[in-house]
Symmetry: C2
């Protein structure tokens, strides 16, 4: 009923679609269900978007930055590598448990995107961002605590993404929070064991910009 500009209407429909998805899954977010959630008629949809795929694409794009901003804050006040890594992983994990539906939809979107030639690139981009985010966290930990990773950061970053992704998927299936957190702590310990002191022991090459000290 109200008369709002196109941009706002689109955002409203995107919110509505996202609400339906997190509640009932990607497939449930039909054009009709989305419009019903937004309280508008179906004609509005095709006035705002070219097609359902068009809308899905915009949702996926909007998701990419939404996932990153998590763990950096958690490692600020850590004095030990093991603690820092575990707190960083836990910071992400709290997001998973706080909004399980959203993460479940994320897997549905990823799996669906892989079957579409058009959207395959979006899934690839998503995981590329994950790797970048993991690398950033690893660099921050190393710089903050004065350690060096005794293993290529690219490899470590892929391990981190694998860990959070695997843990999340498994948790969505069996909802065993205790088991997930136990495994998470174990992984944190394993990762921390890869860190070696950097400052005193030997000459260290911090390829990225020096941060503290």
């Amino acid at each position: 009923m109200p008369r709002i500009p196109l941009a706002e209407r689109r955002a409203q429909l995107l919110d509505a679609a996202w609400a339906v998805m997190t509640r009932s899954g990607l497939a449930a977010a039909t054009t009709r269900a989305t419009c019903a959630e937004a309280g508008v008629s179906q004609g509005v949809f095709h006035y705002c978007f070219d097609s359902r795929d068009d809308m899905l694409r915009e949702i996926a794009v909007r998701l990419v930055p939404m996932q990153i901003t998590a763990a950096d804050a958690a490692i600020a006040d850590a004095s030990d590598v093991a603690v820092a890594v575990e707190q960083a992983l836990l910071a992400y994990w709290d997001l998973v448990e706080a909004d399980l539906g959203a993460h479940q939809v994320l897997y549905e979107i990823t799996v669906a995107a892989l079957r579409s030639d058009d959207s395959h690139e979006i899934a690839r981009l998503q995981y590329h961002r994950y790797l970048d985010g993991a690398r950033d966290v690893l660099d921050t930990v190393a710089a903050t605590l004065g350690v060096r990773w005794h293993r290529p950061v690219d490899v470590l970053a892929r391990q981190v993404v694998t860990i959070v992704d695997g843990l999340t998927l498994h948790y969505i299936v069996d909802l065993d929070s205790a088991a997930a957190r136990a495994a998470l702590s174990a992984f944190a310990a394993d990762l921390a064991a890869v860190a070696v002191p950097s400052a005193a022991a030997s000459d260290v090459d911090t390829s990225k910009g020096a941060k503290n000290v």
Copy 2:
């Protein structure tokens, strides 16, 4: 045209559906597509199965044991824990790269099953079997090489499942075999570092810490 007993006809349709799925995805395996693949008309389908969900359930059931028999053989001739763990993971990994489509469908089935109240239990069972399989491999490694895991086997098993699951999903997205194998080796080293010589006989040299790639 040929006249074959019901059981065989069902198996034939299940094979056909699986063929369509691994080629074009779970959603592509409609009743029509499945019948076309099998070379029969649609009426046969509902003569053999109550519904499409009925068939999907049988496919899922048939899948459960299909996934387990992998890594045990690979650790038989290993003399070092690190080698044994890596070879076990690699044995599974070869299966992933050999039949990527099958594993992709596995994720589609899992994700879809989680949205259905009826099938949710199937996904749970599937991951329960994964955990059992991982535990078996871990026990075999420990027994074969005379070591003890310095961490609860349940936690380690969940780590193993997380690793193979996370690696596989990431690989399906970006098809970066080299990165996946590098991360796999790193994980293997981390896991091997959790093994300590067993109290009984410690001829085996496991004194070193994690050796990295």
